[in-house]
């Protein structure tokens, strides 16, 4: 799962990002309103802790930068193939964001997409898409469609029933 040994180049780029983020947080904290008009104790200024955290983050970024440079992080990255599973990752991310961000609670073409419909559609498409290669190879496409449809209906009905009727949640 985790890339247990990211390249020094990746660490180098991450370090630059951390230094930039740390600096931005420090500036944000330092320039934050100190509420002098309200006569507050200056040690309780709201920006104090974020500014200190920004310094800490940038300092750790500098350590990471130094370490990555020592390990060869300045060398140009080798042009390689895309990491394994990138297509499946893109598919998973796309489907999940489309469902949670694009369908749930949205009104499309003047029609408020009901939660149960969005859920059933997502579960059906996701299961079918990820099982498609194996099912096709085994000649079980029809069975795959039935399984995906059953899971979709079951999930949509179960989640809607439990959250709407039992927990009294107004579904999006």
């Amino acid at each position: 799962m985790a890339d247990s040994n990211p390249s020094p180049r990746a660490d180098f780029l991450w370090a630059l990002a951390w230094i930039a983020v740390g600096a931005a947080i420090f500036v944000g904290g330092f320039t934050m309103d100190r509420l002098e008009r309200q006569n507050i104790n200056p040690y309780t200024a709201p920006g104090l802790v974020p500014a200190l955290l920004g310094i800490g983050l940038a300092a750790l970024g500098v350590f990471l930068l130094a370490r990555s440079v020592r390990r060869g992080g300045l060398a140009a990255a080798a042009v390689g193939r895309a990491p394994a599973g990138i297509g499946r990752l893109a598919l998973a991310l796309g489907l999940c964001v489309l469902y949670a961000g694009g369908l749930v609670g949205r009104t499309l073409l003047g029609w408020h997409v009901p939660f149960w419909f969005a859920t059933a559609l997502f579960v059906f498409v996701a299961i079918l898409a990820f099982e498609w290669p194996d099912r096709r190879a085994r000649g079980e496409l029809r069975r795959g469609i039935v399984v995906a449809a059953a899971c979709a209906v079951g999930t949509a009905a179960g989640v809607t029933l439990v959250f709407q009727e039992v927990f009294l949640v107004r579904l999006p």
Binding site: A2, P6, L57
Partner: protein, 506 residues
């Protein structure tokens, strides 16, 4: 002591009605299933169940969460033994010997050993939970703003140091978590920080959607991105534990239980470190270290005792200090707060019954895992064979609706999505999640107490470094950081050898 026993007895009796026992059984079974399925971790399970139990009475909701937490850490050993895939990170050490036993046709015996170890570990941890929480609560009453500031920093630094394999990245993750906790209204003046005039952001990020994203959605992405082959299950013998295994390894059980509990108490470290530490200690003390990794009963017993002992251990600082000992304990703490329980130093003063309620929950959870762990071996095998491609989309639906259900606003769904993507990317580049979560949980404590401390001392930093408890915590933080430098380690070792002449002679 007697008061504690009375409270414990009252708690046991309070949970002994048929409906509650049914809920305990369901929660333990659900926890075991969550743990057994690779990709569903204990943190994710407890976070999702927090959203599912929102409308339940608080005692029952927390009972479900504790039972599922214990069940998930135990359940992870099932896939470790049978599939060589740890169900949760806590069960990685169990793969080494558990799967070797399964390959030798002793899967049933391995399941029996892991069940025995988990039960014994939970019981040992439960004993310390009952004994140490009141004591730690008493000590914590002496804590002031300075000590709480150091405690929060100590948690992030220790967690960053011990989880993952790169302390620098652990600390970076922890600092990012601390910063995220600063977003929204500040806890002293209610000034909006880093909200960019966004009304939702002004309220800050809610912990549960953030954790559901970082552990749930990130895991969904991880599992779906990798194609998993159909699991192969080895042949089976009886899972009934042998008394001889327990009697022969009583020292290992006791040692692993104590190590697991102690590691649980250390903020943010968690079950995986407890498991590996118990395993390593057992190997060092073993008469047969060469058998480790090749199907050692002792090794499996140590790993499984250690990780389950860590569960009650991780709850000790939650109750006494409001500082979680592990990532699932962080979610549990958030759930306690949602359900109106305020953990922290005053809990033994205001609500001592609750501490012993949790001890009783542990005992019921232990009985649950013992029963289901041994009785439902075959049905659990069927669950392990359900393809991840079917489970994960359903889990994601629960992530979405669970995040939404807390406050019924879509912003929490976006929070879950955002934290999921960030969590996935960070994990891919070896940034551990435990310090990140601990940072989010402890950020408020650090922020308030640093500023309060400065006000109390009128800007003088001396009390931060010269009060006894502050000085101890500050010294541990400093030593933890410095020991990561090779030159400091070499100097410390040289000094140690110089100060111990008998070692030099040896």
């Amino acid at each position: 002591m007697l008061d504690g026993l009375v409270l414990f007895g009252r708690a046991l009796a309070g949970f002994a009605d048929p409906l509650t026992l049914l809920i305990i059984a369901g929660a333990c079974l659900l926890g075991i299933l969550i743990g057994a399925l690779p990709g569903l971790t204990a943190t994710m399970g407890v976070a999702l169940l927090t959203t599912l139990t929102l409308k339940m009475p608080s005692d029952r909701a927390l009972l479900v969460l504790v039972c599922s937490y214990v069940g998930a850490i135990y359940g992870g050993s099932r896939s470790a033994i049978l599939l060589n895939i740890p169900g949760t990170p806590a069960n990685a050490a169990a793969c080494l010997d558990g799967h070797a036993l399964a390959q030798a046709g002793l899967a049933g015996r391995a399941i029996g050993i892991s069940t025995t170890g988990s039960v014994m570990g939970t019981l040992i941890g439960m004993f310390f939970l009952a004994v140490a929480t009141p004591w730690l609560g008493e000590v914590a009453l002496k804590f002031g703003a300075y000590e709480f500031f150091w405690l929060a920093l100590f948690g992030v630094i220790i967690s960053g140091n011990l989880t993952g394999n790169d302390p620098l990245k652990g600390w970076l993750a922890g600092f990012v978590g601390l910063f995220i906790a600063c977003i929204g209204q500040d806890p002293i003046h209610a000034y909006e920080r880093f909200a960019f005039d966004n009304r939702d952001l002004a309220g800050g990020f809610q912990l549960i959607p953030a954790l559901v994203g970082a552990f749930g959605f990130a895991e969904v992405l991880t599992v779906l991105a990798a194609k998993t082959p159909k699991p192969v299950i080895h042949r089976f013998d009886t899972p009934l534990p042998r008394i001889g295994d327990v009697l022969k390894h009583w020292r290992t059980i006791l040692r692993s239980g104590v190590i697991g509990t102690f590691i649980g108490v250390v903020p943010g470290v968690g079950e995986d470190v407890a498991s590996w530490s118990s395993y390593a200690a057992a190997r060092r003390a073993s008469k047969e270290p060469e058998k480790y990794g090749k199907g050692s009963v002792e090794g499996l017993m140590a790993a499984e005792t250690g990780d389950n002992a860590c569960v009650p251990g991780a709850i000790i600082p939650v109750l006494a200090l409001a500082v979680p000992g592990s990532a699932p304990a962080a979610v549990l703490m958030a759930a306690m707060i949602i359900h109106g329980v305020q953990p922290g130093p005053l809990i033994m003063v205001n609500n001592p019954q609750f501490v012993f309620d949790v001890v009783a929950m542990m005992l019921y959870a232990t009985i649950g895992i013992l029963f289901f762990g041994l009785a439902l071996v075959k049905p659990l095998l069927k669950v392990l064979q359900v393809p991840r491609e079917i489970i994960m989309p359903i889990v994601f639906v629960l992530c979405v609706i669970g995040s939404y259900a807390i406050s019924q606003r879509l912003f929490d769904v976006w929070t879950m999505l955002g934290f999921g993507v960030v969590g996935y990317v960070l994990r891919r580049y070896n940034y551990p999640m435990a310090p990140f979560v601990l940072g989010i949980v402890l950020g408020d404590l650090l922020d308030k107490n640093l500023r309060r401390g400065l006000v109390l001392s009128d800007g003088d930093l001396t009390p931060f470094f010269f009060r006894p408890i502050s000085a101890t915590l500050a010294a541990i933080c400093l030593v933890t950081i410095l020991m990561n430098f090779a030159a400091v380690r070499r100097a410390a070792h040289a000094a140690y050898v110089a100060l111990t002449p008998w070692r030099r002679a040896a």
